[in-house]
């Protein structure tokens, strides 16, 4: 238990008239890549919002969510703001809506960089921030950083926007990176690049990853351990290889069978 970076125990999320997530328990260790598989309405994104303390006020969380030793549920907003960044940062599906359309990309990345430098009592002057922004752009393998810094979100491709969103998340130096359907809006060739980038960054930095997706094959590439959710409940959990080849639950079996039907068609066997 001591080595768990994230520990979720009996998490239930409910509105006054509906239970959205029920009695969910799982944990993620430092440096682990954990995948959540679920179809629409499974509660997978709500779970990630509960971990970051970003639930809508109408949704009441009960249970325990411990992140880096601190309890999230019931924590005051001030402490949550510090933890979002210090402990956890999120990359969402659509980078176009996650980025400010009216602000050059360089300044958007500089924001979280400056806040972290101040928080940790380091030099947060202009030159220091610019150096960090430059280093982050290189880290997410963005070409022509000088041009990119001055560009607006609509001026770059979807893949480049998602790299910028990843750079902003990393700017916080979080210990847990949450990626919620980060490649769903992207073309397949761009998706492959972003998946490779996320996996290698998480490994380089030694941080944990919570990767949420409806796409079994993508989760299988990224995650070491997975959890399958349906209608707000955990259906199955285990090593990715095991769940995606020898699923125990009948719902997981039907998902894996469906994914494998399209996967096998790609072999082009007569």
């Amino acid at each position: 238990m001591m080595s768990d970076l994230l520990n979720v125990q009996g998490l239930t999320l409910a509105t006054p008239d509906k239970v959205l997530v029920e009695d969910l328990s799982f944990s993620i260790m430092t440096g682990e890549r954990f995948g959540v598989i679920g179809e629409s309405g499974s509660g997978k994104s709500l779970t990630s919002l509960a971990i970051t303390g970003l639930l809508a006020p109408s949704i009441r969380p009960t249970g325990r969510v411990t992140l880096a030793g601190e309890e999230i549920i019931g924590a005051p907003e001030k402490r949550l703001v510090r933890m979002r960044g210090d402990a956890v940062a999120t990359v969402f599906q659509e980078p176009l809506t996650a980025l400010d359309p009216l602000m050059p990309l360089g300044r958007q990345i500089a924001g979280p960089v400056r806040r972290r430098l101040k928080r940790t009592g380091q030099d947060a002057g202009r030159a220091a921030v610019a150096r960090e922004v430059q280093a982050l752009l290189e880290q997410v393998r963005l070409p022509e950083p000088e041009r990119l810094i001055r560009s607006y979100p609509h001026e770059v491709s979807g893949g480049q926007r998602q790299r910028v969103a990843i750079a902003m998340a990393l700017a916080c130096q979080p210990r847990l990176l949450i990626a919620d359907e980060p490649t769903t809006a992207l073309d397949v060739t761009t998706q492959a690049e972003i998946v490779r980038l996320i996996t290698s960054l998480v490994e380089e930095l030694g941080i944990a990853l919570l990767f949420i997706s409806h796409d079994l094959a993508v989760v299988g590439q990224v995650a070491e351990r997975v959890m399958v959710m349906r209608d707000g409940r955990m259906i199955e959990t285990g090593p990715a290889q095991q769940v995606l080849t020898r699923p125990a639950d009948s719902y997981t079996r039907s998902l894996v069978a469906a994914a494998r039907r399209f996967d096998e068609a790609l072999e082009g066997q007569p």
Binding site: E39, S40, G158, D187, V188, T189, Q191, A192, V195, H214, D215, L216, A217, V218, G220, Q221, A240, Q241, L244, T245, R246, P247, R253, S254, L255, V256, A257, A258, A259, R260, R261, F262, D263, A265, L266, E267, G268, Q269, P270
Partner: protein
């Protein structure tokens, strides 16, 4: 026998850059052809031209041996009887204020198809696996997968020869998607289909022929199995290599 043939088609919006360049391929009667490409490949524009919503500036499209006259109203009325479409989003393609019966029989009315429309709608709705009482209900009473079945019923009710499907399963959850693909497979035995999709797995499961588009040009076309096994063009190779694959190992389901 060729049902549709696209010959050296070129297209640009206004005075902009050419979005389609020298596109040629044929759709044999009874076949399933997949048009595959990423965003910006021109696949949606090509679909618009095949539906007669726009006319190519270069080349031509032949349907059943005669040119598709997109600007000829009389021609288009006949064309729509023979060619129908299913779109990506079943939430925006069904009028929320109309009962399903009225939605499904719409092509019969606008195309002035003679006969008992209610009976034809019942047949169409049964062939997509929904019960007859579906016709008396409204779109909001159905899930995404059921709505897409309704959209398919509307597309096949006038017994077209060709159905064009534009990302018709892309918005559906995996469990639903596999069932709607089964339905398309079943329907395609009775008619010719063109599937426009970025999802190569779905095209691979459904289409015997495949056309790969990149930035407005055809980079590769032919038998789906051949292309999957032995892609020739560098773009096709990188596209196929990018598709995330399920982990290997002995599978027990």
């Amino acid at each position: 026998m060729t049902l549709m043939s696209v010959e050296n088609v070129g297209f640009a919006y206004g005075k902009g850059r050419r979005v389609l360049e020298d596109i040629s391929f044929t759709v044999p009667r009874g076949s399933n052809v997949g048009l595959v490409g990423e965003s910006g490949s021109g696949k949606s524009t090509l679909l618009r031209l095949m539906l007669g919503l726009d006319s190519p500036q270069q080349g031509r499209i032949l349907f059943d041996g005669a040119p598709l006259e997109a600007r000829d109203r009389r021609y288009m009325q006949g064309y729509r009887k023979r060619v129908q479409a299913v779109f990506q989003d079943p939430y925006s393609s069904l009028n929320p204020a109309h009962r399903i019966g009225r939605i499904v029989t719409e092509p019969l009315r606008s195309l002035k198809v003679p006969g008992d429309h209610r009976k034809m709608a019942e047949e169409a709705i049964a062939s997509v696996g929904l019960s007859a009482d579906t016709l008396d209900r409204f779109p909001h009473q159905f899930s995404g997968g059921q709505r897409q079945r309704i959209a398919i019923a509307r597309a096949i009710v006038a017994r077209p020869e060709l159905v064009l499907a534009d990302e018709a399963v892309s918005a559906l959850d995996l469990s639903t998607r596999v069932r709607v693909v089964d339905l398309f497979e079943e329907i395609s035995e009775r008619m010719t289909m063109i599937f426009v999709s970025h999802d190569i797995g779905v095209v691979a499961a459904l289409c015997d022929q495949m056309v790969v588009l990149d930035r407005g040009r055809i980079v590769e076309a032919g038998a789906t199995k051949e292309i999957l096994r032995n892609p020739q063009h560098a773009y096709t190779k990188s596209l196929l290599a990018s598709i995330p694959r399920m982990p290997e190992g002995s599978v027990t389901l």
